[in-house]
Amino acid sequence: MESFTYVNIFETKGLEYILLICFLILFVFFVRYMNATEKRT
């Protein structure tokens, strides 16, 4: 029932920042992958 415990609402922030960095890196690769043909022609 009711309890007096500490709840960390920012628990997952570390993981979220890692995902953010992954996203930025992958986004560069994703766009480079798509644009590969444009360079060739």
């Binding site: 029932m1 009711e2 007096f4 415990t5 500490y6 709840v7 609402i9």
Partner: protein, 300 residues
């Protein structure tokens, strides 16, 4: 109450205080009204269902026959023809009877959801439904955390049906029908302030009889109906995961953002369109001209 909930409640209290100051001008005109509600002591309820009968008679709904209909065999929800129902639960502490009806929230999700204010939180607390305003969108049903508003689907002109805390009787100075019909004083009518004192006193004087919690004190931001129980509330059909945030708060950020977006975005878009305006005409490209030129290209 845990720390997080305390902080939230404190925040709400501050917000309410800030709001109260601006509303002070109105309240000085007439006597400040306190929200009223009902305290349900489930340890006193004997499951006679007199409240169901009284409610049905007070609101011209089909009157149940508690002696013969055997309705306690299954757990029921309120319906478009029964604004309140009593359910039986088999718990650690034996049979427990629980009355169910609209909780009359402090800050009702249904009233915040209603785009015509047909669902209305009255000054004294009852949440009522006004047929001349309602368009039957049923967004109140989507929003209510207690699943209380019900719709008459089988009618060409459906009404939304839910307990109105006997709003019409209250205006005549009477108490709600269910409260007056209760033979065991399981239902106590009063202002929430008084009811909280009564409820706390019962818990303090009988600490072993009751679970040390008053359901409705903080649930969904606090409700008009309060419940005392001998067993944990999960065992008698209550949702204990609704949180203490008033439900309209969930849409607050979005609704606050709307005017901000409406100031900012058109300016940004117009500015962008002027920045990208290569020929300086000030207007957008005329698709008619385009139609002609592309066709011209196609012809060759």
């Amino acid at each position: 109450m845990d720390r997080r909930n305390f902080l939230k409640t404190a925040g709400v209290a501050c917000a309410t205080a800030a709001g109260a100051r601006s509303a002070a001008a109105d309240t000085q005109e007439h006597k400040p009204e306190e929200f009223i509600g009902v305290l349900v002591d489930t340890t006193r309820c004997i499951g006679c269902r007199s409240c169901e009968v009284a409610c049905a008679m007070a609101h011209n709904m089909p009157v149940p026959d508690p002696k013969t209909d055997g309705a306690l065999e299954a757990v029921r929800t309120t319906s478009e023809t029964a604004w309140t129902v009593v359910n039986r639960f088999d718990t650690d502490a034996g049979e427990v009877f629980v009355k169910k009806q609209c909780m009359h929230c402090w800050q009702p999700a249904c009233a915040a959801a209603c785009l015509t204010n047909a669902m209305k939180k009255t000054e004294t607390g009852p949440v009522i439904w006004q047929s001349d305003k309602c368009m039957g969108c049923r967004y109140c049903m989507i929003s209510c955390p207690f699943d209380i508003p019900k719709c008459e689907y089988d009618h060409w002109n459906p009404r939304i049906q839910k307990c109105n805390l006997c709003w019409e009787r209250l205006q005549e100075g009477q108490r709600p029908a269910c409260v007056t019909s209760c033979p065991t004083d399981a239902l106590t009518f009063g202002t929430k302030r008084e009811l909280m004192e009564i409820a706390r006193k019962r818990i303090y004087t009988n600490p072993d009889k009751y679970v040390h919690k008053i359901y409705g004190e903080f649930e969904a931001g606090g409700t008009g109906w309060l419940y005392l129980s001998a067993v944990p509330f999960e065992q008698i059909g209550f949702r204990t995961d609704l949180g203490t945030t008033p439900y309209p708060e969930y849409t607050r950020d979005f609704l606050y953002a709307v005017p901000v977006v409406f100031f900012g975005l058109p300016a940004l878009l117009y500015g962008l369109s002027q920045l990208t305006d290569r020929d300086g005409s000030g207007t957008g490209p005329d698709p008619k001209v385009v139609a002609e030129t592309t066709d011209h290209q196609a012809a060759h």
